[in-house]
Symmetry: D2
């Protein structure tokens, strides 16, 4: 079946890249050692900071987000250092596997993939660590595999309550530019991000926002690092340039995307995502289905995980929706394979795109034979009728 | 309010230009007198024919559709010639005004803007014209201002039944590439079309498909013509070129758009438009509103005109929908100003874009205070659940 | 032979469209009846004026330049009106043919295609016209077929010296945005232009700048007009819109191109073109070849016509250059077919593009066996070494 | 000074990205876990192989070339392993610094930056290594900082002549897709490449072509690796996908660039680069200047390093050329800072672009007051007159 019209890319990233960004990226590549590039580089390195809620340095890698995970670890830690991780989902699991692979000692606190990191668990673990062997706490702000957030400010408080000096490393890959985030105010030491979600770019750029404490840690950290090393990056960035060839055309796109976020206003961006998430949950519950996230305080603003009733295969439903309705939804990953699908409602998005998305999910569920209440869509529309 | 996401351009043209076409148009302009252009020109001049259902010449103007209206008249008629026109809506009215302005004598049969041309009326008028003073019958295949079609094959039969030699000139501006159309089989003499509707291009190209009879008429027709003259066009077209500078980059887009129509298959294109029109009518009637088109045989596949209840201003509703939901709808034109809005569902379109569109109309009606039954959307989705 | 790298489009238009303009044109088409379009339309209609050197209205057609020729005539003249034309080249010849075809009486003063319009000839003809039967004088500012300009201010003076009331209609298709031009100051009544030369756009837009006197003439002019009629255009333009569908995406490009001209500054634009023309003539004469233009006051800043020595076919040379060096040059047109080639050096252009162009011409001449002095290029480079 | 026309990006990479590639990259990002992506991934992973001259796996990283350097080392070597490096220029120096930083023991054979790796030196060093402690020989095929190549087949022979089992790792960052290269036939173990040179893409992709021997080495290599690890990459690549988010839009561009190389034919691509390099040397020597490369067998086909006479600062000359002629040239790097400039003549390039480039260099040298013979350009054009 030939697909017509615009594809609905409703995975939780990469997101629907705006035309403006794609056109900006189509400008001819320039000399990355020339004066015009230095101006571009400097401009972007400043303009990216508010999105992280920081006035401290943000490092930009020509790589995807997985690289920025590695960067956060290898710049701050040494072989054998202990890190505290929490099983909030597939990506938290992958990140701790990476940590282990890099030679760190990982304590991985089990979880049910339906809750964020419990601040109390953090406090308990760190309190018990009287030797201060834990060097870093790793938290995924918004689990892309589940649609569950972790409450970073409360986690920060939990750490502080114990007086423990561990670094706080936070993955915001699917939250940055979509959910409220404050690197400085929340006392995060390294914030990890990627280009292809709330930043509305294609994949290919990743980020580390770096606190003074993290920077200090990097002076003594012993994990091997070269490509990911902050030091030459920060040094070159002072002049708006990079120590090796940057992904120039993606940077053109980033400049445009940052302008778009600025034009809308970050507060409006965050409110829009919450509104769409709320409408989505109303539809899901209206259908009689269950949202994966089990704690009302932890719903993600950027995606919603939907549990499929017993006896139905979420991947078959997704395949039907892709084939019939030209829409991509996120698969259940890891232990959730086949049990959920994920609706991305982040990035360059609006009410009617969400309405089309929810209509497509509803119709796909019907076509797939999942018994649902088809007034689900109406519940969402009622929400979207309100400003 | 800053708009985010993709605009829903649901006027009945210009339509949502596909990215593929826009990218094709962004290729560098080439020498229109060089060998590469001649190849392009030739290819397009052949590939456009099936869309008109013709094997006869199709002329391409670097102008918008209004120019092709003029071309159809000035190439076939002489000052003082009588033409028979039917008031099916705003564009039929404008076309006969143009005819009059060009020095033709127009008989304009009144209509209620809710019906197409009645074949019987054509037969009656032509039968009565025993002197054969009527030189051409002008029909708008799909009235963009109303969403009502005229049944061309039946009109052809009506003409033939009288043995009258009048030419049949048909405007397919908002039907070509969306509704089934057969220039040759239906015995049309000049078919007028534009680029910005079913052909999925930006505005800037227009077309005349020309029968042998029309071509013969052009040899003796005396209306002044220069830019619009078929003769030098047809002569140059034999070599794939044009007598004056063509709109090269729009032709790049046309080549791409013709490929897309060919990939989908014209039969599928037509079926898709009918399906979306049907779903739209189900929504409109589900809301408790009235579709403008009053004859079930004459519903347009490319747009739907919706009557707004007394006491409501269609333009205010449209303004709310544009502001709140980032969607453009068509206004009521001429005598329908404020009384209807028009939903375009043509061009590069799909089920979820339609669902988003209908959701936007529904929400906008609610926000505007129009009393409707909000299960309208469900009726449409039920239709779209079926293949 | 597969061509690599960027094509050198050195015909005298269409010119090398800048990437910025092509990207601007790739934005999604918008509703031409909506508020955003009206803003765009208004902005462009103001921004275009300085390029014409006018504060009076400029009308924009969705058509190529040939249409704007027709518009200039049909809006200001009546059947049988006498117009005075001068044979300065191929396009002057075509324009007077069009005038004749439209029912005007043309006096066509012969010329040798190597000189512009002689102001004295204008004075002589108009002085002799004691009955004031001549209604308009038609002049091509910059003959695209020869590279010879006509001195409009002196022609204006010549007309004024006779006290003759004839309108002055000027074709600036290949000069506007390249050569200095002052519609108001020079007392031109209608200025005709197109998008694909100095305005750096693809073909598809054309223009009429209109004096008060021309506007007054249009009130009584009787030539048939519909698509080209100024009246509804000027009326709609007051609100930033158009009486029929405009070529929206080309207007996006026009906005961008006007920004580029404004950033560079018109005085700099004109100086740049003169400098490149001068360097080109130095090369041509350095090769030992003859520039077609025979009057030093009348060299075109936007293109140079080059006479090919007896026994050589200019079109074969052009074919070699296209094949071997991936460069398009302009052909000799009409009576100059095969005897000249034309080098376009207008639009979005710079010194190194010109150097590459001249190198290509030089190499092509050598390859074609034309005996030349290969220090021609050096003469040009010496000129380009000076600011 | 406002620059007009097209910038001449004549650094030895990033190169002038073809419009076709930029437009391909502007397509909407797709789901990297969906069936359409797997098809794309598979297609590219096959189509890239001939460019490397291999039938073995080629791994694609979403990173710039520096990352692929790291990947080559960390996948094949263990901490403390000895590697043999040769000081052929700036990038050879950086690569061995990286090796040292990663914990390898480096023997760095000094060089004068005007010669490639001497095959005899390789043989001598390896013969002397009777303990077989050297685990890898690192060679830069085409030193981007100097324009000097190393003769890989002779180096291979030299290694073989000693019977030494060391791996051969080759950097082809500025040669792949420009200079003849045969990973399999030449017995290279890891070939390192980047997207922004001969592959005609913006920066952001890098590559490792991997021999069976290298793959075997990776099973026991102990350097820490995660992002760069071949194993999960090769595993996922079997299905056309990637273990983490790929740089989708750059992959669209890669597909297009590979089509372009295929259309031209690799043999033609290589011949074109040699021809342009030869013409460039003729110009340089014609000016009376010295080409940096001191061995006629080792001239680079993709760039030319030009020594500036004593008393002149190459960077000032480059600044003049950028300012006056809108052209970027490569700077002297490391110990060559200020002493040379580099002319890139690689990627999507043609004769007239080269002519413009050389004209710009010549004029810039004159403007900068460097005493040169201005017939240099003529020597180059004479070469380009021959097929």
């Amino acid at each position: 079946m030939t697909h017509t019209g615009r594809h609905f890319l409703q995975i939780p990233g990469p997101t629907n890249t705006p035309d403006r960004v794609l056109r900006a990226m189509a400008a001819p590549t320039m000399d990355h050692r020339g004066p015009e590039f230095a101006k571009l580089g400097w401009e972007i390195l400043q303009a990216i900071k508010p999105v992280f809620g920081t006035t401290q340095p943000v490092v930009i890698y020509p790589s995807s987000g997985t690289g920025a995970w590695e960067a956060a670890l290898v710049n701050t830690l040494s072989p054998g250092d202990k890190v505290l991780c929490f099983e909030t989902g597939h990506f938290a699991t992958l990140w701790q596997e990476m940590a282990e692979g890099l030679g760190l000692e990982v304590e991985f606190v089990p979880g049910d993939w339906r809750h964020g990191v419990a601040p109390q668990a953090v406090a308990d673990k760190l309190s018990a660590d009287t030797e201060r062997t834990v060097k870093a706490v790793l938290v995924v702000h918004n689990e892309t595999s589940t649609g569950v957030t972790s409450r970073i400010p409360e986690i920060r408080e939990a750490i502080d309550s114990t007086g423990h000096p561990a670094l706080l490393l936070v993955d915001t890959i699917s939250s940055l530019g979509s959910l409220e985030y404050k690197h400085d105010e929340w006392g995060v030491d390294v914030t990890v991000a990627g280009s292809q979600k709330g930043l509305m770019l294609p994949p290919g750029l990743s980020f580390n926002a770096i606190s003074e404490k993290a920077l200090a840690a990097s002076k003594t950290a012993k994990l091997t690092r070269s490509f990911w090393s902050w030091e030459p990056m920060l040094e070159a960035n002072k002049r708006g340039v990079f120590p090796y060839t940057p992904a120039t055309n993606l940077l053109y796109g980033l400049r445009e995307a940052l302008s778009m976020l600025d034009e809308e206003g970050l507060a409006n961006v965050y409110a829009r995502h919450q509104r769409h998430a709320e409408a989505t949950r109303l539809a899901v519950r209206g259908w009689g289905l269950e949202v994966l996230c089990a704690d009302e305080r932890e719903h993600s603003g950027s995606l919603t995980g939907v549990l499929v009733p017993e006896g139905h295969d979420a991947d078959k439903i997704r395949a039907i929706i892709l084939d019939r309705y030209n829409m991509s939804l996120g698969a259940g990953l890891g232990k959730l394979t086949g049990r959920i699908f994920r609706i991305g409602h982040l990035g360059d998005f609006n009410d009617l795109m969400l309405a089309g998305t929810l209509a497509g999910v509803q119709m796909g569920l019907v076509v797939a034979g999942v018994p649902i209440d088809t007034t689900g869509i109406n519940a969402a529309l009622e929400r979207l009728q309100r400003s």
